[in-house]
Symmetry: C2
Subunit: 545 residues, 2 copies
C-alpha cells in the first residue's frame, strides 16, 4: 500500500484556494500510484482559524470543501482535517475532525480528543472532545486516524490530559496510524516531535504517518517536517522543513525501515529559515510585496533588513536612515554599507528640524523642564511617522525591528521604534540576534562587522548606550529566559545565583511594560514562549511590579 | 443563620492588599453577627490572573493568603475562591477552587467543574475540571459551594457543557448554595444573571447566595450586583452595581422572601457607570491619577473627556486641541465650550508647521504624488506624538477616544488617533455614543449641543465628512452588530434586508482592518462582544476580505 503525504501551505479562510491546492495534490498522488493521500489538520479552512470558527457560514464553507474532496476520492482515498458541527445541543458546537474519504463516500470521521488549550492554542474555546474512536478498513488494512495533540499525552513529563485516545483505538488492532497535525515551529519542536512519536510507536508498535502543515499564519510558523515512523521506533523519513512537499511511502518498506532520513536541527539555522518564511508568508498571503524598514546602524534593523531581503527580494525592500543631532556618523555609514551589500534602495531623512518643530510647539507646556524620555520618544515617533508616511504612500509594510530583550523590558517607544505591521525578530533575544547575524555572515560578510561589533545604542541622547540603563545582555537574556520561557519566579531565579536586586528589577520591568507589548505588532514565534497570543498577561496588576 | 456577602474590588496579584481587604470585611461581618462571610471567585489573587497562574510562585502566594484567612476564621466561617494545585500529575496543574474555612480549619474545598473557555474566558487553559462534589455541614445546615460558571449550564438555549454539577451535589440535600463568581459586565448581563439564577432555583428549590466581584481589571468591568435568591424563585436582594458593599442576610428571611430588592437596568446608564468605573480603576490600580486627551471638537473625544472627569476629577484631566489647516473654526470653539463646562485646563497647539516639516522632508520620496491617506495620517500621527509627548513629560495617561464603529471598519490612524493607554468608548457604536452623550446631558448641558448635532468629520482634508467614506451610522452600526455581536455571515445579514454590496463592503472592512485592532489599546468591555481579548481573529486570512 502506498501512502502520499501532502505537506502543504494553506491560507486561513481561503476555502477555494486550499481545496484547489489539495485537488492538485490528489492528482499528483494518483498519478504516482498512491492508494491514500493525506493532508493536515483543518486543511480546508487553514490553521488556526480562531474565532472565524464561530461563524456558521465559515463551517458551511468547510463542509463544501469536504464535499468537493469526497467527489475527487475516486481510485484514491483522501485523509483530510476539517471543522465539523456537533449535532448534540449540549457541549461545544464543533468538532475538530479528520475524514477518510474514498470512492465518493465518507468512510470514517474521527473527532479530536485532546484539545490543546495552552500557549498559542485555544481549541477548547471551539471544540468538543471526542469520546468515540474508530478505525477504517481499507484494502485489507485497518487504519486509525487522529488529530495532532491526540498523540501528545505520551512522552512528556507533565501529561495535560487524563486519557490517551490511542489507548482506546489500539483495542481495534489498527495496522497503522495517520495523524493529521498543525503543530507550530519553535526551535526545539522538531526534536520534541520525534520524541513524542517515538513514545507512541514504542507503546503501540505500529507505523505512524504524521502529516504537518507548513507555512506561516500571522505570528505562527508551521515548519512541516512531516514524519513517517517505522514500527521499530525509528524514523523512516522526516520530510523537509519550511517548504511544501508531496512524498509517497510504501507501507511494506516503512514496516521494515528500509531507510532513515532526518533533517538537520541547528537552532540558529532553523530560526533563520523560520523567520524568512514568516516574513514571506505574511506579505504573500496578505497580497503585499514590498517592505520598508528604518535603518539605525544597529544590529536589529540590519538583521531585519537581511531577513526581509531573503524573503521578499532586494527589489522589494526599501530602507530609510533618519539621523538626528544625537546620531553617530557610523550610524549612516554602516547602514549605507549594509544597503550596498544587499543592493537595496535607501533614502536619508534628517529628523532634527521636525524634532525642533515638535519641541518648540510643546515649549509653552514643557517650559524649562529638563530633557528626558519625552524628548527621546519624540525622536522615535518622528521616525515612526516618516516610515508610516512612506508605508501609506507606497504600500510598503513597515517591518518592526525590536528584539525580544528590548520588548521584554520595555526598551522601546510605542508608536516610534515599536511601530510596524510585523515584528520580525521580537522572539529572539539580543544575544540570539548576534548568533543569527553571524550565521548570515557565515560565508560572506553581508552585515558589516562594525554593526555586529559596536556597543548597542538607541542614540536618543548624547553618548547613550544600552548598557547605561540595562544590564549586560548576556545576563539580562538569561534572567529573561528563566522568567519568560521557564516561568520561574524571583526566588527560583535568585537561587540560581543571580543578583537579587537585578532579578527584581528585571522582573518588574517585564511586568510594568505589559501595556507596551499589548500595542505592538504580531511577533514571529520561534521560541516556546513568544510575546503575543501565547503569553496572556493582565496590564493592570501588582505582581512583582 | 446570618450570611454576609462581601462584594469587593481586588487587584490582580496584590495578595497582601486583597487579603487585608478581606480581613477587614471579616471583622465587619463578625461585628454585625454574621455566621458566614463570603468573598468572590479567585479573590486571593484577583480575577482574571491570566498567565500569572503559570507561575508556581503566584500559586504559593495565593496559598499563603488562604492560610491567613484560615487563621481569621474564628467564630465566623469564611468562603473564598483561590487557585489551588492539582496533586495528580495527569491533567491541568491547577484547580479553580472555593474554600469553606472555619475555626482555623479547611472544612471543604470544592473545585470548579465548568470552565468557561469562550469570549474573554480562558479557564481550561489553566484548570482541571472537578469530578467530585461535596457539601459542608455547618451549624445544622448543609451548604453546597460552587464557582461561577457551575450554575450557568441552565437557563440558556445552547448549553456548553454535557454535565450540571448542581445535579450531582443536589443528591447530598444541601439547604442552600453559595456561589462565588467573577462575572464581567456587559449591558445585558445583569438580566441574564437573574434568569440563570432563577433557572437554578426553579430546578433545585433552595436559596442561592451569589457573590460577584466588583471593579475593573484592565478591559473587564465586574459590576457586582451580587444576588440572594429565595427558594420561591424570586430575587430577595440584588446588591449594588459598580461599588463595594458588605451586606448581611438572614437565612430565615431569605427562605420566606421577606423582601424583593432589585437594581435598575437601563442600558445607557449602565454603560455610563461601567465606563466611569473602568477608567477609575485603570488609573487607580496602576497608580496613576492624571489623563490627557486630544479634543477634536467631535462627539467621541468630548464624551471620553466627560467620562474621564467623572472618573478622575476635573483637576486630573488635561486636554489639548490641535487644529490644522483643515480644521473648522467650531472644532476649537466647541472644545473650549466643553472645557469650560467641565472646568478643565487646556492648551491649543497648531500642527500645520509640523505637518509642513514632515511633508517637506518626505518630498524627495513623495515627489508630486497627489495628497492622500499618507498626508491625512501624518496629521493624525503628529497629534499622537504631541499627546504622547505631554504624557511622557507629565505622567498623564493618554486616553484613546475611538468608538466601536470606527474601530470596526478601520476608520482611524494607527499611532495617531488610535494611540492611547486605554480605549474608553471603543465598545460602544457611534449611535450608542450619542445616546450616552444625551444621558450625560439629561439634567444640564455638559457636552455642548453643537458637538452632538454637527455631522461627524475627521477634518483631515478640506470639507471631509465621515459620510463621504462610510454609510450612515444608523445602518452601519446595525450591520456591524449582526456581524460582530451576533456572528452572522454575509448571507444571513443580506437576508435581513440589507444591501448586498454594502454588507460585503462592511464585512470586508472589518476583516482587513484586523491588523489595526491588534495594535490598539485595551478596550473597556460593555457589550457581549468587544474588540480585544474576547474576539480573536487571524490578521492574515482570506475570509470575506
Amino acid at each position: 500500500m502506498k501512502i502520499a503525504i501532502a505537506q502543504l501551505n494553506y491560507i486561513i479562510g481561503d476555502f477555494e484556494g486550499n481545496t484547489d491546492k489539495m485537488l492538485e495534490a490528489v492528482d499528483i498522488a494518483k498519478k504516482q500510484g498512491a492508494d491514500i493521500v493525506t493532508f493536515s489538520e483543518l486543511a480546508t479552512c487553514g490553521y488556526p482559524p480562531r474565532d472565524f470558527l464561530e461563524f456558521n457560514d465559515f463551517i458551511n464553507r468547510a463542509d463544501k470543501s469536504i464535499e468537493k474532496l469526497k467527489k475527487a476520492s475516486k481510485d484514491i482515498a483522501i485523509v483530510v482535517g476539517s471543522p465539523t458541527k456537533n449535532p448534540i445541543i449540549e457541549g461545544k458546537d464543533l468538532y475538530n475532525s479528520v475524514f477518510f474519504l474514498y470512492d465518493g463516500e465518507e468512510k470514517l470521521r474521527q473527532h479530536k480528543t485532546l484539545l490543546p488549550t495552552y500557549d498559542i492554542f485555544d481549541e477548547y474555546r471551539y471544540f468538543e472532545p471526542s469520546s468515540e474512536w474508530g478505525v477504517v478498513e481499507f484494502k485489507g488494512k485497518k487504519i486509525a486516524l487522529n488529530v495532532c495533540e491526540d498523540l501528545w499525552n505520551l512522552g512528556n513529563e507533565n501529561p495535560l490530559y487524563t486519557i490517551n485516545p490511542m489507548d482506546e483505538v489500539i483495542k481495534l488492532n489498527p495496522d497503522f496510524v495517520i495523524n493529521v497535525s498543525a503543530s507550530p515551529f519553535d526551535y526545539k519542536q522538531a526534536k520534541t516531535r520525534l520524541k513524542v512519536l517515538k513514545a507512541n510507536v514504542d507503546r503501540y508498535n505500529i507505523p505512524f504517518f504524521y502529516i504537518n502543515h507548513v507555512g506561516a499564519q500571522t505570528e505562527l510558523i508551521f515548519d512541516g517536517g512531516s514524519v513517517v515512523m517505522s514500527p521499530n521506533g525509528k524514523v523512516y523519513e522526516e520530510m523537509s522543513y519550511f517548504k511544501e512537499e508531496i512524498k509517497i511511502f510504501d507501507l511494506e518498506d516503512v514496516n521494515r525501515q528500509g531507510q532513515n532520513i532526518e533533517q538537520a536541527k541547528d537552532k540558529i539555522a532553523l530560526i533563520h529559515d523560520a523567520l524568512v518564511l514568516g516574513v514571506k508568508d505574511y506579505f504573500g498571503k496578505l497580497g503585499f510585496k514590498k517592505a520598508v524598514i528604518g535603518l539605525s546602524g544597529g544590529l536589529d534593523s540590519a538583521l531585519t533588513t537581511v531577513l526581509a531581503v531573503e524573503a521578499l527580494g532586494n527589489e522589494n525592500v526599501f530602507v530609510i536612515m533618519m539621523p538626528s543631532q544625537f546620531s553617530s556618523k557610523h550610524s549612516i555609514s554602516d547602514s549605507i554599507d549594509l544597503a550596498d551589500n544587499l543592493d537595496i534602495d535607501y533614502e536619508i531623512i534628517k529628523i532634527e528640524d521636525i524634532y525642533e518643530e515638535f519641541t518648540s510647539k510643546l515649549k509653552p507646556l514643557f517650559k524649562d523642564l529638563p530633557f528626558n524620555v519625552a524628548e527621546e520618544n519624540i525622536q522615535a515617533r518622528t521616525r515612526g511617522t516618516l516610515l508610516m508616511g512612506y508605508s501609506n504612500k507606497f504600500g510598503n509594510i513597515l517591518l518592526n525591528t525590536t528584539n525580544k530583550s528590548e520588548m521584554a523590558v520595555g526598551y522601546g517607544t510605542l508608536y516610534g521604534d515599536l511601530a510596524g505591521g510585523l515584528s520580525v525578530i521580537a522572539d529572539i533575544y539580543k544575544t540570539e540576534a548576534y548568533e543569527v547575524a553571524r550565521y548570515i555572515n557565515r560565508d560572506d560578510i553581508v552585515i558589516p562587522c562594525h554593526i555586529i561589533n559596536k556597543p548597542p545604542s538607541a542614540e536618543l541622547r548624547p553618548n547613550q548606550f544600552d548598557s547605561d540603563s540595562l544590564p549586560d545582555y548576556d545576563i539580562l537574556d538569561k534572567i529573561l529566559f528563566e522568567y519568560i520561557e521557564k516561568r520561574k519566579g524571583p526566588k527560583e531565579i535568585i537561587a540560581m545565583g543571580y543578583d537579587k536586586k537585578l532579578v527584581q528589577r528585571v522582573l518588574r520591568l517585564v511586568n510594568i511594560n505589559e501595556f507596551k507589548r499589548y500595542q505592538t505588532a504580531p511577533v514571529l514565534r520561534v521560541s516556546k514562549k513568544a510575546f503575543g497570543m501565547g503569553r496572556r498577561m493582565p496590564i493592570v496588576a501588582k505582581y512583582l511590579s
